[in-house]
């Protein structure tokens, strides 16, 4: 059952802590040339042909946004990320990148950050 209680405030300090643990990923995100060559390696993209489901798009608009805003995000933004990192990625680790960027590690961290703020896949969502 979906709870009617108001969601707790976002703990931006905790998000910053989680981001600081994996600073390497920020560097690798900054190398991404946005070439889009990773698109065809994602089975979700290949089935749905949704331009917002390519590995690079998911990483840039979830973890990339978190790094860019230094963790200062609101619940609405995290809810938007939820659809990218939980619904559109199965963490199957089959995505490739010409630079060797590990996209699924980025999605996994974005998921961890969302979960730390109580934003996660709920199977009782309406």
């Amino acid at each position: 059952m979906v709870s009617d209680r108001p969601a707790p405030a976002i703990d931006q300090h905790r998000i910053k802590q989680l981001l600081a643990q994996k600073k390497q990923l920020k560097l690798f995100l900054s190398i991404c040339a946005k070439c889009g060559l990773c698109a065809e390696s994602c089975f979700y993209y290949r089935n749905h042909r949704d331009p917002k489901a390519t590995p690079a798009y998911k990483a840039v608009h979830s973890l990339g946004r978190l790094f860019k805003k230094r963790g200062k995000v609101n619940r609405h933004e995290l809810e938007q990320m939820k659809s990218l990192v939980f619904d559109k990625c199965a963490l199957c680790r089959r995505c490739y990148c010409p630079f060797g960027i590990d996209v699924s590690s980025m999605i996994a961290l974005a998921r961890a950050i969302c979960r730390s703020q109580g934003v996660y896949q709920r199977f009782d969502d309406k």
């Binding site: 994996k22 190398i31 390696s41 993209y45 690079a56």
Partner: protein
């Protein structure tokens, strides 16, 4: 009003050194950051079970071919052979065309009494056109391929422009199209802008590519891999 010849001397002299210094310092800082952040390896949490001891079976040629085909199909090369070919060509020419251009070697000889071998001019001309054509294909992808368009921001178009501008202006100068003094100054300035961008923007992948792909022991590098995060 700035005197064109004074501007030319400034762009040829101090401005070149400044661009080179920013490129070298920016690259050194970025590389230092890359190594500092990748030095600590994460302990491996899972290990593959040791292989069972069996008499070694020699795979047939057919089995080997299937293995290779599967590996190729899963790689970016197998999925987009044409685009990868074009990318390799583009990046190789970006480097060798200006390096072996006759005009550049003449300038080098004038300055330091030293020069490298150079391509004949029609070859440099053809290679420049090839670079511009490759860039046009990449621009087309950014504009018309839905997944790439969704990813692209203003910076990505700008960086493509910065990369190709020295080649366009160089080609115009060589063909003597337009006012030569202004075009040659624009050529030098755009080259310096590219050099600066190599040091401070994501164009730094010129250097990073080799480290991320070969040097750093991460899971996806071609060197022996273990996760660094």
């Amino acid at each position: 009003m700035v005197n064109p010849s004074e501007l030319y001397e400034f762009v040829r002299g101090p401005m070149t050194w400044l661009a080179l210094a920013i490129f070298l310092a920016g690259s050194a800082i970025q590389l230092h950051r890359l190594f500092r952040l990748s030095a600590r390896k994460q302990r491996r949490l899972l290990r593959a079970a040791p292989p069972k001891k069996r008499a070694p079976a020699t795979p047939s040629l057919g089995q080997r071919m299937t293995g290779w085909r599967t590996a190729l199909r899963r790689s970016v090369l197998g999925r987009h052979p044409l685009l990868i070919g074009l990318t390799v060509l583009f990046h190789t020419l970006l480097f060798i065309t200006p390096l072996f251009a006759r005009g550049h070697q003449v300038l080098l000889y004038d300055a330091w009494r030293f020069s490298l071998p150079s391509f004949v001019e029609p070859l440099t001309d053809a290679l420049t056109v090839a670079v511009i054509s490759c860039a046009a294909v990449f621009l087309g992808r950014r504009l018309f391929s839905a997944p790439v368009r969704a990813l692209s921001g203003v910076t990505d178009f700008l960086l493509l422009g910065i990369t190709v501008a020295p080649f366009v202006t160089g080609w115009l100068a060589f063909r003597q199209i337009g006012p030569y003094p202004q075009i040659i100054i624009a050529h030098m300035l755009s080259g310096q802008l590219m050099l600066i961008a190599l040091g401070v923007t994501k164009l730094g992948h010129m250097i990073f590519f080799f480290f991320t792909r070969l040097g750093i022991n991460s899971e996806h590098s071609l060197a022996a891999g273990s996760r660094t995060w």
